[in-house]
């Protein structure tokens, strides 16, 4: 084996080693899928019963506004955040942050590191 090939092998093994370590860090972070529902899909008002004409019974009936409320499980905003949907500088946020199609560019980071930062921003990270 030529010396150059040997060094190349050594070098690529080190690169694989480093990237595997970094990849392990990223993969160890569980996904927090963006889960938000636009309010536009909320149910529209419907007329379930239409009255006809005046009558004494109707005139005696109280007017009732009733609400039916379905409970949800406990919230976990500390590690999941809450729907935000805003564009702004990251330093204006704190705690959990998850970005949509993040683009991170740095003059001192390698492209592998930039990709790792973007992956973590997309999965959700803590700015603290």
């Amino acid at each position: 084996m030529a010396l150059g090939d040997f060094l190349d092998d050594i070098g690529s093994a080190a690169v694989d080693f480093g990237r595997n370590l970094l990849g392990g860090i990223i993969d160890g972070i569980s996904d927090v899928a963006p889960s938000a529902l636009p309010t536009a899909t909320a149910a529209l008002a419907q007329l379930s019963y239409r009255g006809t004409t005046g009558n004494f019974q109707s005139a005696m009936e109280p007017i009732i506004l009733s609400g039916k409320f379905q409970h949800i499980s406990d919230m976990n905003p500390e590690t999941q955040g809450s729907p935000c949907y805003m564009r702004d500088y990251i330093h204006t946020f704190s705690g959990f942050v998850m970005c949509d199609n993040p683009i991170f560019q740095s003059s001192i980071a390698t492209s592998v590191e930039e990709g790792a930062v973007e992956a973590m921003m997309a999965k959700g990270f803590f700015y603290e």
Partner: protein, 396 residues
Amino acid sequence: MPSISVTLWSFDKKKNSTKLPASAGTEFTGEMKQSFTLTGLEIRFNLGSQLVAPTYNYAQIPSLRRYYFITDWYYDRGFWIAVMAVDVLASFKLEIGNSSQYVLRSYSRYTPGIIDTSYPTTGEVTRTSSQIAAGTFWGADVTQDTGLIVMGVIGNSSSSVGAVTYYALTMPAFRTFLNAMLSSISWANISITEISAELQKALINPTQYIVSCRWFPILASAFNQGAAVSAINLGWWSFTAPARVLNTVGSAWVSRQNEFSIPVHPQRVGRGDYLRLSPYSSYMLKFLPFGVFEIDSTELFEGDTLGILVDTNLMTGDSVLHLATKKFTDVQYNWDNSFLVVESQIGVPLPVGQVSADVANYQNALAAGVVAGAGDIARSFSKEKEPATKHHSGKF
């Protein structure tokens, strides 16, 4: 092996965090392995001769301008070797903070109205309702005879609207009027020597001059619209009864208004503002005789109170219901922005002795039927019939 200055910490942090150690750490000089990358490397440390596991789990290598997680330690011939992976979030915290991104989810800033589907419903349901008693809204109590009767009569009056004069009476006044009208026939002023009283009663039916009679749940004692009169002109005659004559359409218009505090989801406090929206919250309004309505939760989302306005025309009984919301800080409702407007008939028709029919309507219907029938007959005899699809292509 090249030696390198390394600062080590025992530091508790999440893997996906930009957090940096607050303390100064402990400086060591280690030896790099021959080949390494910036993202992952191994450094050998001389931590003494005793075989005690190091507690350091975080490192900074100033010459590489990066922070590292120590993912593992292994021991080799008297030296501890740290396996390190770069902590990109901490290393580039400043650059990350200065980048502008579109943030989907955040702990510190959020949009309360966006529904968060991260959390499933538990099956637990809370029902809350608020109500306004009918008497409170309308003013009159059905059981107490406090409502208002509006009667349309044909008679000699300068206050008529069209051919009909509308009188508003209390129930006792209405009884007084009936008593005056039907207790004797003397008001007809026909001598019994000409026509006997019994025959007069058979011949003269004063109720035929009553063309409409409706009861409204409006508090009669507080009704002060129109001009007060002491007699009702019916046909050719006049009967003593206290009433108010509604001589214009405007004087026959009444409005009733009230409001509900909007029931809210018990978990809405904090970040749960979106729980006021469907499908977590659903609202029904029962208001008879207008109907039972399922209200769009988005209409109630920003409001604190739901306002109800009913405009009623006492001549016809036609009523219009308006629903609008406002915040506590708003002075009044903007009814022009009502999200629901529904018509209905509030007046309760009271039968009178004369069976009346809407002759004009019958005539119109009859005429329409005749015209349509004649058209069909004409077409059936036409030699060149139009295609069936063109029969209804006229303008509406």
